[in-house]
Amino acid sequence: MGPRNIFIAAVAVTAIAFGTWLSFKVASPPPVPQVATVLPVPGELPEFSLLDHNGNPVGRDVFKGHWNLVFFGFTHCPDICPLTLQVLSSAKNQLAGDGFTPLPRIVLVSVDPERDTPESLAQYVAYFGDDNLGITGDLTQLLKLTNGLGIFFEKTAGDAENYSVDHSAVVLVINPDGQFNALFGAPHEAENFVHDLPIIMSQQ
């Protein structure tokens, strides 16, 4: 084989290798969320007037400028609520460890505004990490938000001090435009958020 033939063979091998690589690259589908349901069209939030954990009035614009992971729960909930907030906190820490930015903000909307004051929420949400947001306030205003998002909650039997609240267990993703973007159904696992959230955020 002369130098000319060697050159042709080398070009052919290179072309085949490049073609194979390109076909794999083109054929690989983009990653899709494993657990989260992404809304085909992000939904606008209803208007509402509640309080953040510092006692400041907040409306739907409070979600803007952040990727928000929003859970509806209450501070007297001993099991599911701290468990879910720990899962979200763990997912956020894992994303931070991976160098992922921007990190989502964890938001707890209280479904027990009778007992959850801004002060109690402030201590509670801070326990699960920095930059978390707590929202509470007037029940009528709360219902505007929850009804608009398909969130249901119901106080269960008990006395004035000792009662529980059944509540939707989903975690909602609200995008930096303040729109309802996706949701994660329960039970929640940190790795689902670590896997799906960057995909959801990249589709924005």
Partner: protein
């Protein structure tokens, strides 16, 4: 014989008890400190029975909390619900697990400052198990 039978049963039970260290034992006990500003927390553990008969736990009490309740969290149709467990049956020679997202002890209104929690498990009026555990973060 009718009079002797109960005595024989008691004697046999006594033999069984002397062979086992205790009819009911607890493992993997975790009671978290109440979250800041909160007067409620949860307890988790595994109850294992060596008894040949089921043991029904009717109540749990603690000197460190005004009230202790047995609950079960469930996710039903996307809703997080919590049901009180009226009584808890630990089947013979079997275990019942209290774990996050499932059965748990709800400990309400701590009394004073403390680092260790004592839990008394009642079957009727009898305390069948006492567990001491350091509070975890």
């Amino acid at each position: 014989m009718k009079r002797i039978l109960p005595v024989l049963i008691l004697a046999l039970l006594g033999c069984a008890c002397s062979q086992e260290s205790a009819p009911l034992v607890a493992s993997d006990v975790v009671v978290s400190k109440p979250k800041p500003g909160m007067n409620v927390t949860a307890g988790y553990l595994t109850l294992s029975s060596h008894a040949s008969q089921p043991i029904v736990i009717t109540q749990v009490a603690s000197p460190q909390f005004e009230s202790v309740e047995m609950h079960e969290s469930v996710i039903e149709d996307g809703m997080a619900r919590m049901y009180p467990l009226g009584g808890l049956t630990v089947p013979a020679k079997s275990s019942v697990v209290f774990q996050p997202g499932g059965k748990h002890l709800m400990l309400l209104r701590p009394v004073g400052e403390f680092d260790t929690v004592s839990l008394d498990f009642y079957a009727g009026k009898a305390v069948v198990l006492t567990v001491n555990v350091a509070l975890s973060d």
